[in-house]
């Protein structure tokens, strides 16, 4: 029923989404900022990298990085102006940014305008996506375990208190936004080189929402959760193809149900680690062992 070619395609999409989701996870899950503009960063990454490989003959990996960096530069620009805003204002500013980026690409004839940009070399393969994802996950795990990652979590938990103990809140918000834009840009670049065709319509607000929902579904504040979220929510719509029209209805309802029942997501705040699993099994074994020993005693007492 499912040919390998089909599954490989979905796995590549999982990897592409995962890059963006990892970045968003840092921003939303660890720093507590909410962005509606990540489709804009994806668009910048996609267009810049596509132009790099098509018009300037820059090698694929370098073009990916350039796309990511372009998105990062844009994020520094937008972050500098809007990160001081409180609450929903930042959220709405990113919404405006995302839509503005899309509309700019809509009107730039150099980038194909509204008709889109065809003929991008098909460079994204499963092996490359896996390698990039492993690097991305490792770098993210490293960052979060570091002092900087802990400072970001402090900013999420209590902004005023962390400012009081000398954490430069603005600096950490900015770093978080920039790194998350880098990931989104690379994700967009991979997407462009997988599809071979990009169009501003592909980077609408719904794309940003989709990515955010993956982060939340997997669990805020967890890299493992992001991976699981990207996997499940990329595969699920494919598996539900037959109910094509109803799948997004289910999707929307699922988001509400998750929010009102388990708002921390599937794996909120939890991480996968080998040690943890070993500990879990040891505890499990011990409990079993203990109960086996205790049972006759209890029986003797009774």
């Amino acid at each position: 029923m499912f040919s390998w070619f089909y599954i490989e395609g979905i796995l590549i999409l999982v990897g592409i989404n995962l890059m963006v989701v990892l970045g968003l996870s840092l921003l939303t899950g660890f720093t507590g900022l909410f962005s509606f503009g990540h489709a804009g960063f994806m668009a910048i990454g996609a267009y810049v990298s596509a132009i790099c490989t098509m018009n300037f003959g820059i090698p694929f990996y370098a073009a990916l990085l350039l796309g990511g960096i372009a998105a990062m530069v844009a994020s520094l620009f937008i972050g500098y102006f809007t990160l001081n805003l409180k609450g929903d204002y930042f959220c709405i500013a990113t919404l405006g940014f995302g839509e503005a980026v899309r509309l700019i690409f809509d009107n730039l004839q150099y980038f194909g305008g509204a008709r889109g940009l065809p003929g991008i070399p098909l460079e994204t393969t499963l092996a490359k996506v896996v390698i990039i994802n492993i690097i991305g996950i490792a770098a993210m795990a490293f960052l979060i375990k570091s002092r900087h990652g802990r400072n970001m979590i402090a900013v999420r938990e209590e902004e005023l208190a962390s400012q009081a103990i000398g954490i430069n809140v603005f600096h950490y918000k900015m770093t978080s936004l920039a790194i998350s834009a880098l990931y989104a840009g690379i994700g967009g670049a991979l997407w462009a080189h997988y599809l071979g065709f990009i169009q501003p319509l592909m980077f609408q607000l719904t794309k940003s929402t989709e990515m955010t929902i993956m982060v939340i579904f997997g669990g805020l504040g967890s890299i493992t959760g992001s991976v699981v979220g990207a996997f499940i929510l990329t595969f699920l719509p494919e598996l539900l193809r037959e109910f094509a029209q109803w799948r997004l209805v289910v999707y929307g309802a699922a988001v509400i149900i998750i929010m009102i029942t388990r708002p921390q997501g599937m794996l909120g705040g939890m991480e996968f680690s080998l040690k943890g699993i070993i500990r879990f099994f040891r505890k499990f074994g011990k409990k079993k062992g203990q109960s086996a020993i205790n049972a006759p005693e209890g029986g003797a007492e009774g």
């Binding site: 507590g32 409180k86 204002y89 929902i213």
Partner: protein, 292 residues
């Protein structure tokens, strides 16, 4: 000059529709302190309810408008009960409210696509399509109607908020919902009223918008404009939402007339960011720190 006047009138008529949407959104923001991103879904359903009401009661425009208003109000209330009320009871951070609202907006939009279908639908022709003409200016009847109905609805809203007891409670809650709860205001009831009023305005806006253009499931996207308008005027401020909306309408029509129509949305979004940078509290907004 006549082009300018023409665009001025167009801008005011579209701005008044934005105002209806932005006020409903701002009402929710002023009490619950979160962006109700599901407002667009309510507007879209209002447009559909109005359309089907018109088919049921042919040619009775006002009847259909009332049905659309109450239908959308009811939907907004149900939405609050299902998607926000459980979060409110748990004192969840506003992030969760926003996410729940996004889920609701995806749900509503796709429910309509799955049941009614993704196609564009047009309202039947109710009013005489021949525009009023004053010299070289022509004003379509629907534009005048949009402006008048928006003005009447907003006047009724202002009356409710300024003169009635419920309105007093709403104002108290928007100042401090915890404080007014301590003073014996039933905050849950006020939130019910807020969503009902906001939803009714959304229904009216949806129906008028649908009459001027067409009805389709993604119609809620225009609420992005009402967020911008609300930010222009200052989040949570009702007069600000109205002024911001009219300004946005004017800016949009004037920029499409004098610059280029494809830059219309881009200019709106750029202005949004500029306003946020220069004066984040908007034209009439409260300074955010004042409100804990």
């Amino acid at each position: 000059m006549s082009v300018f006047l023409q665009q001025l009138i167009n801008g005011l008529s579209i701005g008044s529709i934005y105002a209806l949407m932005a006020v409903g959104y701002s009402l929710v923001y002023s009490i619950l302190n979160f962006s109700n991103f599901a407002h667009g879904g309510v507007i879209m359903l209002g447009a559909y309810i109005g359309l089907y009401a018109l088919h049921l009661l042919p040619m009775s425009f006002l009847g259909a408008l009332v049905i659309a208003a109450f239908g959308a109000g009811l939907i907004a209330v149900v939405l609050e009960k299902v998607a926000y009320s459980p979060l409110r009871k748990r004192n969840a951070p506003s992030l969760y409210f926003i996410i729940s609202a996004m889920g609701a907006s995806i749900f509503l939009e796709n429910l309509v696509i799955a049941t009614i279908g993704p196609t564009f639908k047009t309202y039947p022709q109710i009013f005489n399509p021949i525009p009023f003409t004053f010299g070289s200016i022509s004003v379509s009847r629907i534009d005048v109607l949009m402006f008048v109905i928006a003005a009447i609805s907003l006047a009724i809203l202002v009356f409710i908020i300024e003169k009635t007891k419920v309105g007093l409670a709403i104002r108290a809650c928007s100042y401090s919902s915890r404080g007014s709860n301590l003073m014996g205001v039933n905050v849950n009831r006020i939130i019910f009223v807020i969503f009902l009023l906001g939803g009714m305005l959304a229904g009216i806006a949806g129906m008028l918008f649908g009459m001027k253009y067409t009805v389709y499931p993604q119609i809620g996207v225009i609420t992005n404009k009402s967020f911008i308008a609300a930010v222009f005027g200052g989040l949570g401020s009702l007069p600000g939402a109205v002024v911001g909306s009219l300004l946005l309408g004017l800016i949009e029509t004037l920029s499409s007339a004098y610059i280029a129509s494809q830059y219309r949305d881009l200019i709106a979004f750029t202005l949004l960011i500029v306003v946020l940078v220069i004066r984040p509290s908007g034209i009439m907004g409260k300074i955010t720190e004042d409100k804990a």
